[in-house]
């Protein structure tokens, strides 16, 4: 009889959930009254609509409000977390735009090493050559694209 044992707790939850709805509805009524006190018809319609949403679709409305606050109000914070928190972490595993930063940092470190007159190991030399070749290729591609664009504009 597990169901019977859990029944009082469910009853308590349902009752308090109803009380919470009453509280939320009271707050909303106050705001609606402040907004529509000059027009009784609009106030009445707004009360009916808000009561319908709060007492029939309370869970959906709550989820929608949470989504609004997460994505609209705190959207910029979320974007910063992704760009400066998540992407550098994923870049370590070669995912996302953070992977380029890792390579660039390594290249700059080795460049500094060369500038200080230290010798590079075989793997470090290999990395430098590969990275330089990649950079060259990228620059060539960019030049070609620019050329094509110019030709398109001219012709």
């Amino acid at each position: 009889m597990i169901e019977l044992a859990a029944l009082p707790l469910l009853q308590v939850t349902a009752d308090l959930w109803f009380v919470v709805r009453i509280l939320v509805f009271s707050y909303l009524l106050f705001q609606l009254y402040l907004m529509f006190r000059d027009s009784q018809i609009i106030f009445g319609m707004a009360v009916i609509v808000s009561a319908y949403f709060i007492f029939v679709h309370a869970v959906s409305v709550t989820i929608l409000m949470l989504c609004f606050f997460l994505f609209v109000v705190f959207g910029n914070q979320l974007q910063m977390l992704v760009m400066f928190g998540l992407e550098p972490l994923l870049g370590v595993f070669g995912i996302g735009s953070g992977r380029f930063h890792l390579e660039q940092n390594e290249f700059m470190r080795l460049e500094q090493k060369v500038a200080q007159g230290e010798t590079l190991g075989a793997s470090e030399m290999n990395f430098m050559q590969q990275y330089s070749a990649k950079q060259m290729r990228a620059q060539q591609m960019t030049g070609q694209m620019q050329e094509q664009q110019m030709r398109r504009r001219m012709g």
Binding site: D15, L16, I22, L29, F30
Partner: protein
Amino acid sequence: MLFLEELQWVWWIIIFLMAYYYYNWAQEHLAFSPVLTLVVAAILIYYLVIVYPWAGLLGWFVSIIMFSGLLFMGAVFAPFLFRARPK
């Protein structure tokens, strides 16, 4: 030992204050309609004072902590409580 009779009296006083607090809340928020005030106050007092007084007491304390401005005092005293120690 606890004096249970006195505790009973204290408990009745707390119950009365809670009921007055929830009635006052309804009156403040629904001042434009006396009937609605009575209905909401009756619902609140029935559930939060008569049926589940412990939930009402918890809600009372939580609402006082949240809405009285007590938490602003935390920011006032935090610099003295959590001071950066010199090395």
